[in-house]
Amino acid sequence: MPWIDACATDAIDEEDLIRFDHGGATYAIYHGVDGKFYATAGMCTHEHVHLCDGLVMDFMIECPKHNGQFDYRTGEAMRAPVCVNLKTFPVKVDGNRVLIEVP
């Protein structure tokens, strides 16, 4: 699977996320409170809603539509109404760039 250059490391505030679209798919890239970067699918698994407008709290992303929550490190669904886990993708930092490995 290819590594894709997604954004600069300073493009995402700590404890926040951005949307990243590539190859017809949409992703969410997070700058965690631990200083590390993470990536998940960009859409909530409950309904067709972009997570990029949501709220990052610690290691949780809260969906802007119904406040469902996922752990963005593992993708695990943590709070109703989300029941289905979020896909996660490997991330690495190269210099000041964030790369994600996508299918």
């Binding site: 926040d16 409950h46 309904e47 067709h48 407008d53 949501g54 709220l55 709290m57 809260e62 802007p64 539509k65 119904h66 406040n67 929550q69 709070r79 109703a80 109404p81 029941c83």
Partner: protein
């Protein structure tokens, strides 16, 4: 549009899905990400303060009511207790179901369970119905929380100021849920993984009511029911009054909350009971913003919204004639003026369902 069919299995529900209305994107006012992040920030302290105050007042009022029982002097204390039990529980249930009241999840869950019991809602069912109310607000046949169906049944509205219809429908449903889990209609929005929980919650609520009734019989007094159960009737009026204002008389089958929701300025006591849900357009547009930040959100986006009603009385003065007109003109709704600073309503947004937003229906 003709006679509306509010059944989740009816023609309107089917048409809303087939026309793409249910999947359509809702209008949002543009708010810079940094400002929105700040507005969405969670905190425990405002809700801890309000919860200590709420439960403290409830204990004090109920204590005074019991001490003065059965004299008439107990009446004002019961009325005050009733409003907190039968109305403030609605807003606590609501805000905690969003998980935004407190930052700490267990605090949200604890207040959610207590208020679900008081407001007579199954905590496992209603979490899901409210999610649908947000996805598909006032879309006929899809939103299970439409308070005012058209044509308006005024008698039903008035009876519900005393919670009569709610309570009458609640108990048979509670027993059904306790015995057999969710009903067929509930199964349309509650995922299967939660059906057992619906049943368990119903059994717990039923057991508490049974114990209260048993105590009342043993004591030969309705006093235990004045504390548990009856306040849902004698204290419901405030949440019905504020709840009607949320969407009453406004458009249905639209995807712009400025058209189907109403913001009303209220006095501080009502705002405490209602936990700031008087900023209802703002809440629907951005459900991530906690109740304590809604006044700030209002200031941020009000230039893009219709002017709020300036009091509960003014809100009713606007809504009541519209509800009465809907008695014989089902398609009628109030379409409020936007200020010149606002982005206009997008009529093309609202052509999904035939007859929706028909210009002659609106004013």
């Amino acid at each position: 549009m003709g006679q509306r069919d509010y059944s989740p299995f009816g023609a309107d529900a089917k048409r809303a899905v087939e026309s793409g209305l249910t999947a359509a994107e809702w209008y949002h006012t543009d708010v810079p990400r940094k400002v929105m992040k700040d507005l969405m920030a969670r905190s425990d302290s405002p809700a801890i303060r309000d919860t200590v105050l709420l439960y403290g007042l409830m204990i004090a009022f109920a204590g005074a009511g019991i001490a003065l029982w059965p004299t008439l002097w107990s009446l004002p204390f019961w009325l005050a207790y009733g409003v907190l039990y039968g109305s403030a529980s609605d807003s606590r249930w609501h805000e905690c179901s969003h998980g935004t009241a407190f930052r700490t999840p267990w605090m949200n869950n604890a207040v959610y369970e207590i208020s679900s019991f008081m407001i007579m809602r199954n905590s496992a069912t209603w979490r899901w119905s409210h999610a649908r109310h947000h996805s598909e607000t006032y879309i006929v046949g899809r939103d299970p929380e439409i308070a005012v169906m058209r044509p308006t049944v005024l008698a039903k509205l008035i009876l519900n100021f005393f919670g009569i219809i709610d309570v009458i429908t609640f108990f048979p449903n509670l027993i059904r849920n306790a015995v057999a889990g969710p009903t067929a209609a509930e199964k349309t929005f509650v995922p299967q993984s939660e059906w057992a929980k619906v049943q368990r919650v119903a059994q717990i609520h039923l057991a508490i009511y049974a114990a209260t009734v048993a105590l009342a019989i043993a004591l030969g007094s309705i006093l235990p029911l004045m504390v548990i159960g009856l306040p849902r009737i004698y204290g419901a009026w405030h949440h019905v009054m504020t709840g009607l204002l949320q969407h009453g008389g406004l458009a249905d089958n639209v995807i712009d909350h400025r058209l189907n929701s109403r913001t009303v300025y209220m006095n501080p006591i009502s705002r405490f009971i209602y936990w700031n849900m008087n900023y209802h357009v703002e809440h629907h547009m951005f459900p991530m913003v906690p109740y304590h930040a809604l006044p700030r959100l209002h200031e941020t986006i009000k230039a893009d919204l219709p002017a709020p009603n300036r009091s509960i009385a003014e809100g009713f003065a606007e809504m009541w004639p519209a509800l009465k007109r809907q008695l014989f003109q089902e398609d009628y709704f109030l379409k409020r003026e936007l200020p010149p600073t606002a982005k206009p309503y997008r009529e093309d947004f609202h052509q999904y369902v035939p007859g929706m937003m028909a210009p002659k229906a609106a004013e």
